[in-house]
Symmetry: D2
Subunit: 352 residues, 4 copies
């Protein structure tokens, strides 16, 4: 390691390092060449070694859970991987120290405090922070993220749906209302805590829908897409729990404003993403599937047209823990710190 | 077994006994008290023992694959479990012998020969048979099935979707166009033949959509539901392949003609099915899932309302190999022969 | 149902009806023609409907959890499906009422109180009950079970291993020491309670060994097999957790006392089980697998010989919840009540 | 990339690039900083793009399958990922061009031509190559690998078993005969070709043993371990097919020559591997599991003692496609080329 590299090495901390998001951040950051993990904290496992909680780290990582203050002190940039509702106060502390905060939860995903309150049951207590914060979808807000001090990392379902719809809404090609997203996610989405729905024999060999038309990612998507549309965007969103570890597939049904020529639309759509490092639009005829993106930071999208019913159907796939969470968080970190956006994230998904 | 039972015991034959549908028919019929399996045939495995092909039958079933003629000769009622396009000729032979034919394939699911040709690439060669045949959805055609000589057993996806929509279409409660069914099926749906899509490492830990807005069950559903509606029914149907053995879950998005009161609708809907032995409508608040019906002949349906977007959402679950195929075939057989409709089919799905 | 059947209908109760063993008993007993379920009890779910706990029973079963006393009062034969250590007192109450008790736990699996204490940490408090009780492995103790008032239903792993070794030990063909069983079980074996090991993302796509050479079924197997041997039987037993719902496969390594002729041994071995309704020995060349017995009461066994190292290898498969628990309990009930041993249990395992 | 790096970049080719081993090599080599993939060949897919065969590579890799000669010409080091029996001739061509050959198949795993012939049905046709070749288990042959021109990459099962037994055999601590390995592997082990055993519905929710005491890795392990022992090593090896994509877990039963103190043995055992970058011996009390190493090049081993029966039990886990194949091949390449042994391989296994 030469001098230049030493100088570049920044210190990254994680508050809430032992949940699934924290563990995935640590795993991915371990391969990042420009940073080092300075400290992690955990309320539940304070003083314990990470490798005692997750045995895959045995002998490969010696981090011990410290407290929040240690993380704040030792780090230049801090990920908050906490239950919703706990991030504002910490974000303020981080800002006061002139450090950067990437919130992996929902607290900085909304600009509209009323919407946040309606779905999360809590007022913004520090509204000025939300004016400064940026919604961390690089494909939408890359330039703003570059200078941001507070980044709200998008929800996993939201990422898969917004990436599919961004080109269509921004180019005014589909009806803003009556959009339907039928989404399916692996069980890692529900995290480390034990629950009936993640009990093996309850989800294996099954499929179930939940929070039907009542999931908190709905308003997040509506606000995000509404911000680039002249009209309100309205979405019916139904998530399902798949008996797999990782991955989200969203099948999205939209109504084109006019009958479309799919070949031309596909060209325009692909063009929208042609410079995006992590979004791949499949050629017409191909169909996105979870296998193609699992364990990577890539999003894969395919386009299909039901001409008889004038429905434009999109299939959008991501890994919920990477592009849907930790990977996108690191992508945001790279942008905020001026690194190559792909640093630490350009590994290829396994074929099997 | 007393004399009366002996007299009642009818002979059932299966042409195409070694595909998945055939094997499931044999398994289920083995527990049926009123019939015995007289003969099975197989082109691929002629002369072989069933238990050499499916080892689960070892020592429990001694059937040997014979030829078609043996089955026709030895049986009172014959299931055709064949690739599409091969059933008309056999059905005619069966009718001439004054026996009963239950076709498990698509050949007798359509009344409209043009639709059949468009989707299956073949004209009706014996149109008069199609006038006599009955579409074997007992919840729709019970009385006709009772006297039928040719029964076309519904498709698996079609069963799950039609059962969900029957009450709504027949009572004129939803828009007939713009219906969307996002359906997910286990891998048994693609049968015994090896294929890339059923190669373990290709489907395990993944999810994929296929035949998007282009699946052959679409016109079957449209014709069936159209037959009870004053208007054409139009459906956008997208099937997906789940990494599980059995089960279909269809999430169906419909638009009520008027804003609805879900409690009242649920009452009316439940009432529609209150005497049906195999359809269970969950109480409001419950959500149908595959686990609840797997390995049984039951269909479970739940109702949900997205009031903000006026979308009535239905979740409908069946076991694709039972209510979606072999079980429904036996239900049809029971009706055609005047047996108790539930004979051999009233086993409870396992909880795990 | 004619008069004779009514008279034969006995009342069956289940204490602990809402654990996995209880739920499986209820499912299977629902298809039993000679009995009816009179009452079930549950400490955790007292007053709740079974179908609120397990939604697969919705509309198919109206049982409500009562208390123990109700079950004792209303039933002729009572299954105890309780945590270990709670059965003696209840068994005594049942005996006093001159009723029959089938204990699904470990409390009546041992004759040797010291062994029981060593592994379960508790003395026999009512030793006289253990003199009267019978170990409920029908293939070993059929005649004793017929008149029994207390039956200790065998452990799941124990069943798979004992059935494989019974012919060899009883005919003195293998060394009694140095036996190794490498066993693998589905996750239902760990029951309804949430735990880290049954959290989906912890067991899916993985395999783990546990309680290595320290599992409580070891002494049960040693005592059972020792009872038919002139020497002590010594076993090294290692269980593993498979990412599947149901099924046990035990691969058992034994040392023949003399070099063997596998064809002859297979003949002798098969002969041992030729009249057993639920044990199927595969022809030489076949290999038992979980798929072949899953969701049935059958045990499938195959024999293999490593001549170079003089190891006789057995592969033994059962469904852990049926032949390994609820099904075997019902088989014992059938014997104790003088029913056909196969009543309610002769369904064929699904091929897929 | 500065000049020094350009100079170091070597050209790597893969003959047989479209099987599972080839695809995994390409995926992993894409993250390797010191090499570039110069060419791949495929008989089945000549002229096709890799990303048409494996869609996970879409837009991430532009390789097109060329022919063998192109690979030989363009590459400094060549991986052979071919069916057994095809490597000698190619290895000779590679040697003549003074390039390096890493054979991923079995052809260079044996020094004893008679053993090879017995198990693979073919004589060594170029025996002199086998004198020059090195068995590529770095933990055994690191120094020899460094200068090698032909490396025979070990079998997947063999790797998991040999790593577990190396310390014990080399230190003369266990009986050389009577060793038993009960091993379980994910389905990727059987590769890309469709087969009954890898048909989803045949292996999902099941477990099966195969090639019982008759698998070709048996003689490989016996020869390798025999080479460091004064006596012949004899193994009973039974592989099983797990319903997961990746991973091998071997449970190995050995007999210590003398009663052991497990704490001391563990210390000695751990010490053996203390400098090995890819072998982690768990602390006593821990148990290796597939989850802990999946998708990584690490091997995790745990030690257990059945004192009552004097059996030392080892649990050894690897990812069959990485440490069991492509990863170990790259580790060998790194050694042969003088790179850091961990280059491109030090990613951490995901916790979920």
């Amino acid at each position: 390691m030469d001098l230049k590299e030493v100088i570049q090495t920044l210190k990254v901390g994680i508050i809430g390092g032992t949940g699934y998001v924290g563990a995935e951040l640590i795993r991915l950051l371990s391969c990042h060449k420009k940073i080092e993990i300075s400290a992690i904290s955990s309320v539940s496992f304070s003083g314990k070694k990470l490798s005692d909680i997750y045995q895959n780290f045995y002998n490969l990582n010696n981090l011990v859970c410290e407290n929040e203050e240690d993380v704040l002190e030792k780090s230049d940039i801090i990920f908050l991987a906490l239950p919703n509702g706990l991030s504002e106060e910490l974000a303020e502390k981080i800002l006061k120290r002139n450090k950067i905060c990437i919130d992996m939860g929902a607290d900085f995903r909304f600009k509209n405090g009323l919407t946040y309150k309606k779905w999360y049951g809590k007022d913004f207590s520090l509204p000025e922070l939300h004016e400064k914060s940026v919604y961390g979808l690089p494909e939408l807000n890359r330039e703003k993220i570059k200078g941001a001090k507070i980044i709200g990392n998008p929800g996993c379902y939201a990422t898969s749906i917004e990436l599919a719809l961004l080109p269509l809404i921004s180019k005014n090609l589909i009806e803003e209302t009556g959009i339907i997203s039928d989404s399916k996610s692996g069980v890692t989405g529900s995290g480390k805590s034990l629950s009936e729905s993640s009990h093996f024999t309850n989800c294996n060999e099954s499929l179930s829908a939940y929070k039907i038309a009542n999931h908190r990612h709905t308003p997040e998507i509506e606000e995000t897409l509404g911000s680039i549309s002249s009209k309100d965007v309205k979405l019916t969103f139904v998530p399902h729990l798949l008996p797999i570890n990782r991955g989200i597939l969203s099948t999205i049904y939209t109504t084109p404003k006019e009958k479309i020529n799919l070949t031309e639309l596909h060209k325009e759509y692909s063009n929208f993403y042609k410079n995006e490092p992590f979004v791949n639009v499949l050629p017409l005829g191909g169909t996105a599937k979870i296998n193609n993106v699992r364990l990577s930071n890539y999003c894969q999208i395919s386009l299909h047209y039901d001409a008889e019913n004038n429905k434009l159907i999109l299939v959008s796939c991501i890994d919920n823990m990477i592009k849907g969470s930790a990977g996108q968080g690191i992508q945001n970190m790279n942008l905020a710190l001026g690194f190559n956006e792909k640093e630490g994230l350009d590994f290829i998904p396994p074929a099997f």
